[in-house]
Symmetry: C2
Subunit: 142 residues, 2 copies
Amino acid sequence: MACENETAVVLREAGQKVTPQRVHILCAIRHSGVHITASQLIEELRTSHPFVDASTVYRTLASAADLGLVYETDMGSGESEFEWVGKDRHHHLICRTCGDVTSLDNSYLDGVATLLYEEAGFQADLGHFAIFGVCKSCQAKA
Amino acid sequence: MACENETAVVLREAGQKVTPQRVHILCAIRHSGVHITASQLIEELRTSHPFVDASTVYRTLASAADLGLVYETDMGSGESEFEWVGKDRHHHLICRTCGDVTSLDNSYLDGVATLLYEEAGFQADLGHFAIFGVCKSCQAKA
DNA sequence: GATGCAGATGCAACCACTTGCATTTGCACC
DNA sequence: GGTGCAAATGCAAGTGGTTGCATCTGCATC
């Protein structure tokens, strides 16, 4: 699979050892649509690669998040969701009422990041953000 | 203690039963500086009111957060931190390198909330926000 | 191809938190 | 001051995630 070779290259460039477990875990994230929770990932790996331990999955996800290969977002459900870092940086609007998640272009928060850097010297990591609130249709219902 | 009477009134107005456990838990949050983790709270209650169960603490915190009496913030350490909702709405800048937490005035994100409402119809709940990044002094060290 | 070693893995124990359920209790109503 | 009931509590068992440690393995070097 081309994806696996590609993932191996990404890992090696990041200074990580290329193990079958890591390649499988990262490929699973890349192939699994936009978001995936850690437990969904473990469930999926259980069928395709039953020899991968849960702790390995969590450790791999944590190191991949540190390296900027994946985003880790707390969606408010208590479970973190993971997403492969693509070209497009974006944010999420999460409705507290219906749980719906919509994507949001990066431009909204660029100004905030600049302001924070200028005024507080704080280099904000606004690459991927979860904003909670109430969506349009739920407001209409209320 | 005046605080306890006041807390009882807040609870009753919110439609909650006023139990000694709830009053103790909420008073402990009010008295314990800015942030407190659930486990610190349980530890503190263990000495002052040893009859309060951990599950009661978590349930009380969850319902208080729902009612808007306290803020619950994931500080990235895996443990949620709780804070009594005062007059001043503010945000937190959390340094990924040294773990330092600084407060940030609400004004920075007001514009974003307005923009989101006008363009996406999304009523963002930006009352209390955790922004991750790298602080000034850690940038200087790097 | 053999060797050494840092880093990765698997296992099991552990911690933070949640949930189901029987019991208790605040409080509204009489 | 009783009584009834919904809501809160305590207990215990369960779940999701983390950590310590012994073992294993990718990979650089010879």
